[in-house]
C-alpha cells in the first residue's frame, strides 16, 4: 500500500510543482518507489519541470476515459529508476477528472508504489479537491506573505472537512508545513513574515524551509528537479525536507542571511 501525499496551497504560484518534483525525486533517490501525478488538467507543467515533456504520449485523462492503459501513460524517469510521472492533459478541462476515475488510478498505483505524490492545481475547486481527496499526508506549501498564509489556512480547513479521511471519520490527514521562497535577509529587515510567525499562525508541524534561490529557475530551464542540484541551497533544503519526511532528524538550515563579504556587496553577489 502506498502513502498518498498531496502537495497543495490554495494560492497559485507559490511553488507546489517545484516542490512536488523535488520531493518525488528525493523520495525516489532514497530508494522509495514513487510516482508523481500532475492534477493541473489544462495547465500541465510538471512534465516540463521534470524534463519529460517530449515523452508525453498519454495523460491521466486518457486513462480515466479508457483511451489508454495506466502503464502506457506512466513515464519512467531516466535519472532515477524508482521514479515515474503521470502527466495531466493539456487540452481538456478539469471536468474530465472524476472521483471514481482518480480513485481507480490511485488504487492501481498503490499496489506497487511506496509513495504517490499529487501535485495540486491552485484554488479550492474541483481539481484541487480531487488532488487532496485521497491523501494520507498533505504538504502545505506557503510563501511568507499574507495571502499565501491565509490560503494555506483555508486549505487546511478543506483537508479537515472534505478529504476522504475526513468523510470516513478516519484518522485525519497528516499535515506538514513547507515554507518556500523564504528570504532571510528580507525577514531580518522586517519586510517579510518570519518563520516563527508563520508557524505560530498555521500551527502545523514544520517539514522544511526552502530559501528563495536562483537555482530554482535554472533547474526549471533545464528540466532537472532542483533537488538534483546539491550545490544550491534550495536543492539541499529539499533534500533535508525529504529526509525529515522519512523520519531523519535534521536541523533546519538557511534561516539566516548568508554572510556577504565586501566583495559580493560591492559587485552584487547573489544567493546561489
Amino acid at each position: 500500500m502506498a502513502e498518498i501525499i498531496v502537495v497543495t496551497s490554495g494560492k497559485g504560484g507559490v511553488g507546489k510543482t517545484t516542490s512536488s518534483a523535488a520531493i518525488a525525486t528525493g523520495l525516489a533517490q532514497r530508494g522509495k518507489k514513487t510516482v508523481v501525478i500532475d492534477f493541473d488538467v489544462g495547465l500541465r507543467n510538471l512534465d516540463l519541470i521534470m524534463g519529460v515533456e517530449r515523452r508525453v504520449v498519454f495523460d491521466i485523462v486518457n486513462v480515466i476515459s479508457g483511451e489508454a492503459r495506466l502503464n502506457q501513460a506512466l513515464i519512467k524517469d531516466k535519472r532515477v529508476d524508482t521514479l515515474s510521472i503521470l502527466p495531466a492533459s493539456q487540452t481538456r478541462d478539469k471536468d474530465a477528472l472524476t472521483k471514481e476515475g482518480v480513485g481507480k488510478i490511485i488504487d492501481e498505483l498503490s499496489k506497487d508504489h511506496d509513495f504517490i505524490v499529487c501535485d495540486s492545481p491552485a484554488g479550492i475547486e474541483k481539481g484541487a479537491l480531487l488532488a487532496l481527496y485521497f491523501a494520507d499526508q498533505a504538504i502545505i506549501v506557503t510563501n511568507p506573505e499574507v495571502s499565501s498564509v491565509r490560503d494555506s489556512d483555508r486549505i487546511l480547513g478543506v483537508l479537515q472537512s472534505k478529504s476522504k479521511r475526513a468523510e470516513e471519520k478516519r484518522d485525519p490527514v497528516r499535515e506538514h508545513l513547507l515554507v518556500t521562497r523564504y528570504d532571510p535577509a528580507r525577514v531580518e529587515r522586517g519586510e517579510m513574515l518570519k518563520l516563527e510567525d508563520i508557524r505560530e499562525i498555521l500551527a502545523i508541524p514544520l517539514l522544511g524551509v526552502i530559501p528563495e534561490s536562483e537555482s530554482v529557475l535554472k533547474a526549471s530551464n533545464t528540466g532537472n528537479p532542483v533537488i538534483m542540484d546539491q550545490e544550491s541551497a534550495a536543492g539541499q533544503a529539499y533534500k533535508d525536507a525529504v529526509g525529515r519526511f522519512l523520519g531523519d532528524k535534521i536541523e533546519h538550515r538557511f534561516l539566516e542571511p548568508a554572510k556577504k563579504g565586501l566583495f559580493s556587496r560591492l559587485f552584487g553577489g547573489r544567493a546561489a
Partner: protein
C-alpha cells in the same frame, strides 16, 4: 560619483511591515476559522432581518445595507435600513413582498 553615493547612502529607516502582516493575519483567520464550519451567515441574516422589519414598516429591500467590521477584540455589525416617507408606502409594500 553616484555609485559611491548609492553605496554609502544610509538606508532610509522605513517602518518594518512584517509585524502588520502578522497582526492582520491573526485577526482575519480568527474570524474565518469560526465561520468555516457554517455557511456564510451574513446574506441569510440580512434576508431575515429585512423580512422582520418589512412586517412592521414598508421598506425597499434594495435600500438595506449590512456591513461588518472585524476587529481584534470587538467586531461591529451595522444594519442600515432606509425608511421611505409615507406617500410611497403602498408601492413599496408591493415591492417588499
Amino acid at each position: 560619483m553616484s555609485w559611491l553615493a548609492d553605496l554609502f547612502k544610509s538606508r532610509k529607516p522605513e517602518p518594518p511591515t512584517a509585524s502588520n502582516a502578522k497582526e492582520r493575519l491573526q485577526i482575519v483567520l480568527a474570524h474565518e476559522r469560526i465561520g468555516r464550519t457554517r455557511e456564510d451567515f451574513l446574506p441569510k441574516l440580512q434576508m431575515e432581518i429585512v423580512a422582520v422589519v418589512a412586517r412592521y414598516v414598508a421598506i425597499d429591500p434594495g435600500r438595506v445595507n449590512v456591513s461588518l467590521d472585524r476587529g481584534g477584540d470587538m467586531s461591529t455589525l451595522a444594519i442600515e435600513i432606509d425608511l421611505p416617507g409615507p406617500p410611497a408606502t403602498a408601492n413599496r409594500r408591493a415591492a417588499a413582498g
